[in-house]
Symmetry: C2
Subunit: 296 residues, 2 copies
Amino acid sequence: MTDISPLFGRVAIIGIGLIGSSLARALVEYRLAQEVVCADRSAEACAKAMELGIVATATTDLADALEGSELVVLATPVGSFAEVGERIGPHLRPGTIVTDVGSVKQAVLRDVGPHIPAGVHLIPGHPVAGTEHSGPESGFATLFEGRWCILTPPPAANPEAVAKVEEMWRRVGSKVELMEANHHDRVLAITSHLPHLIAYTIVGTASDLEESTQSEVIKFSAGGFRDFTRIAASDPIMWRDIFLNNREAVLEVLQRFTEDLTALQRAIRWGEGQHLQDHFTKTRAIRRGIIDARQA
Amino acid sequence: MTDISPLFGRVAIIGIGLIGSSLARALVEYRLAQEVVCADRSAEACAKAMELGIVATATTDLADALEGSELVVLATPVGSFAEVGERIGPHLRPGTIVTDVGSVKQAVLRDVGPHIPAGVHLIPGHPVAGTEHSGPESGFATLFEGRWCILTPPPAANPEAVAKVEEMWRRVGSKVELMEANHHDRVLAITSHLPHLIAYTIVGTASDLEESTQSEVIKFSAGGFRDFTRIAASDPIMWRDIFLNNREAVLEVLQRFTEDLTALQRAIRWGEGQHLQDHFTKTRAIRRGIIDARQA
């Protein structure tokens, strides 16, 4: 009864976690696919996906899920991409589009690229969206609404395939930006990877305190710490893989961060009030930029 | 028409910023004072407070505000406490209660304590509440609802004066906890001061990037960075003073944090996935604690 025809026939989602299950829900809700199926190496996750009714079929057999799929979405942790690529390669038929939702993008070209047969289109993507929750039960169809999705197609990518993936993200509510994988990884290292690393660190530091202090840290967490614990509750495997696969860019911004922190530490030690005040004033400008860009 | 009599006659709030103006509003709204007046060294802030109608009178003359006040609340940046203490001392009459809302507590006893005449009760306090906004126009009466307020009365403090300050915070909706000033400063160093220092640092690091990258950092800030910018938009003078006045405790937790960050940095450099995963899993427990304590 809608005049918008589905973008895809069958869509296979590989890995039915928070992002995979959210996309599955959105594809169904916005009628962007005739059928959505999923594969997950966890039989439990498959059963959950079926129980939730978010896919037509769920299987632990990759080949079954790929059969007849026009679009394949990799939504497993980035560290599994080399293996998943190797296993899906032989089952991909010409014309199929393969995309992903990983938080690092050079690694996709490196790990999945070599397994993509001629005539199959690899269009890597990264929806900048998520929550601190994991698993198929945590997903929801509106997760991508108003959020950015960054696509990093290689220079020789098929323009029609790029346009189709772009259209899919737009129809689930996202704003789409195209950039080079290398540039993506540098930008996200500062906007996402470093913040997560720091949040994981400080929460770890707190959890090493003696137990009595720890319970007070929890009690009085509203002073700023609480925001870090939310970030540091994100999926451990996903984040392990992000850091291992964006090593250079993360180490580079981490070095800058450490230098800056050391300078502030020195200012505190020597009582350099003006230095602190100047720094704390400067950072307000970035916040204003975010509010102006309606990203707050 | 209420059967709860006001706790105080006249209350003087010194410094009518976010916290001072919120408390002024709450004291009026919950009828905890017969009259609320304020003093602020900024004539502009005084005019704003009058325009907003949150105080009966606003003055730049400290002595005027103290005249006849049963309770005096210091709500200026902590770095001004020594000077403010010196100036209010001669005008305090026996029986007056002096409290504050500063984020560090040993410094209050050190800087204000010596100026308090015999028979005047100094009961330092810290409402663990706030937003990233500053100034009298940013306050609101419900700011303290459901939040903790920590009181750090010295051992010899008058129990009735402590009870009255405690009662005031309870009636504006807070939960109250008593602890030693020294312990307060150590706990808050990790739950609030270190998170702010780190947020200020990372936002500063981002603002030093070349301009093209900076606009993308703003654009894609939803990946974690955004939460840091909110924290790093807090009042620069207030935070300068907190770091200068809780130097030892901040430097101590900062040292622990830096060691932990260096260990994670090393794990990333050498590809030690298991180390990263173990750390990222451990931090989830603290988040669960916060959710269980209903502080999330």
